[in-house]
Amino acid sequence: MHGWCGKILRVDLSRGRITREPLDPQVARSYIGGRGLGIYYLRREVDPAGDAFGPQNKIIMATGPLTGTAAPTGARYVVTTKSPLTGAITCSNSGGNFPAELKKSGHDAVIIEGGSARPVYLWIDGDHAELRPADHLWGRTTHQTDDALRSETHEKAKTAVIGPAGENRVLFAAIMNDRDRAAGRAGVGAVMGAKNLKAVVVRGQREVALADPAAFKAVNTKYREAFKAKTQDAPPALRTHGTAITVVGTQSHGVFPTRNFQQGTFEGWESIYGETLTQKYLVRPKPCFSCPIACGRVTRIPDGPYQGEGEGPEYETVYALGSDCGVDDLAALTKANYECNELGLDTISMGAAIACAMELYEKGFLKESDTGMPLRWGDGDALVRLTRMTARREGFGGLLAEGSLRLATRCGHPELAMVAKGLDFAGYDPRGEQGMGLAYATSPIGGSHMRGDPAYFELLGVPVPADPHTWEDKPPLVAKWQDLFCVIDAAGLCVFFSVRYLVEQDLMVKPVGITELLNAATGAGYSPEEVEKTGERIFNAERLYLQAAGFTRGDDSLPPRITREPMPVGPARGMVCKLEEMLGPYYALRGWTPEGRPSEAKLRQLGLL
């Protein structure tokens, strides 16, 4: 095979057995890779009703055909498993260098099953793979683990590891690769911890075989030149200021979540946004493998109580640990970000849980006797302390480790958890961004922006702007973008480059450039329409898994704050999210029943019956 390696590595932790099996070419064509392979194997092999922490759950780490190639942003992999936080599927995505290295080891995916009695790590050195004891690494931070593993395997090996948070089964623990990149969402790291798997370490030196190297080079050059032409006068804002520049887009539209989504404008935004980060703490931008944008941030806080060095913060972290907690101290939230990276925590759900706790405390539903400390809005020091306590489940951290919804429910106020399907929202208030509300509610993993991100057209002008306040036009756009993101996540690409260069630049985003790259790499001869249909197949397959796990139309919901409490201030003042009005048309155009179930005709059309 070309583009694909044609090989899956299967690791049975219970028996300590490692086997290889071929990737079925027809499955590869129908699901592309990455997120597509993830749902394909999850549906076949993991009982949707089973315990996420039980040995029957599996972790599927899958690359795409473009991962590890010279394609712009061909850096991504997807971790798919049943989430302990939500009980739904999660398919968390990350870049860096580990995914390309995994691909170059000659494997499209690693399927991890069972559970080990003792801590172990998986060492993949090209064709050789073995499980090694990891007792000596248990309890160590992600950075310490990365250092130790590279010293005992190969200095150029790449790692994906869990920190203390994953070991302690914090329900939103992340898998950190290349030290500071995160497959962060919905507890993939906790599942790894439950399996006693500390790390996957990989060394791969095999170039990805391409079906038509000359055509691939030509297509690659065409899109890289398009990027150069567009950015020749001014570098992309994401390179200059990182994703935290996105605060400008959300604050100016009045959708920058503030104090647990009580309002959409934050008075302290200028202290924590991208340009301030650049001025105060940026050391250098850092690209993932094969990326021309370089949005990653290497930062340093030179002095003061939060002195430190690391990567971040990204936009989502600035929202979750910043405005959502009322914190305008960039050093404090950056330090809390460093802690999350080293302890292996999702910064979004960590910040959202603290924000929820702060609202519960301010309203008297949590007492200082519960929390062990005052939890006032804006307390940057509390962020850092609570992050450490959560990873180790110390004191009140044990409650935070269960996530915002369980915390709020325990306090008798589940409505104060800003979640969909139990997963905390990203940094966009859907009251002033209607499409985002529909995207959160229908995302297969819950409240994520990365399963079809309407912020591009509603806020950021990409590829062309659409009005964030209208809801009537959003169902077809959200469906189209959800399917597109399935394709991007399956191909092994990053959304950031793809939405501006590899799709037609209108709201229907036909994946023309992605198709050209896929064809040159794999020789599959896809049409853009077949690629779009593949995206739709992946999205519907994920929906079927949710359905089998017991999720219904009632779970396509948002908290009452979003659908019933009008935004109090700012450009979106007076608005609520018209979710119910959007859901009916959305189900209809997806070919789903009014209960939100894919119809038999739709499943037949997609080859899912």
Binding site: D233, A234, P235, P236, A237, L238, T240, H241, T243, I245, T246, V248, G249, T250, S252, H253, G254, E275, I293, C295, E314, Y315, E316, G427, H449, D453, A455, Y456, L460, G461, V462, P465, D467, P468, H469, V495, F496, F497, V499, R500, G570, P571, A572
Partner: protein, 77 residues
């Protein structure tokens, strides 16, 4: 009339004296296009334009004390 302008990232380069936040005097009845011309922002430079937090385009007519926000299209957050 006077409007207040907040320009970000590369669009900050077109602000008078280099500060991103400033006031600008324009003729009554001016549009966003007139504002872009006054700031000498070339047509080839892409900008997302908001007036008082609502999406605008070059034809949007401005009123006294309007708040105009300008930032480049962004690839994501």
């Amino acid at each position: 009339m006077k409007v207040s302008v907040h320009a970000f990232a590369n669009l900050r380069d077109y602000a008078p004296a280099g500060g991103g936040k400033f006031e600008l005097a324009l003729a009554d009845g001016a549009t966003v296009a007139d504002l872009l011309t006054a700031l000498r922002i070339p047509a080839a430079v892409e900008a997302v334009m908001l007036v008082n937090g609502r999406r605008a385009d070059t034809a949007t007519r401005l009123s006294s004390d309007d708040e105009v926000t300008l930032f480049p299209p962004m690839e994501g957050g």
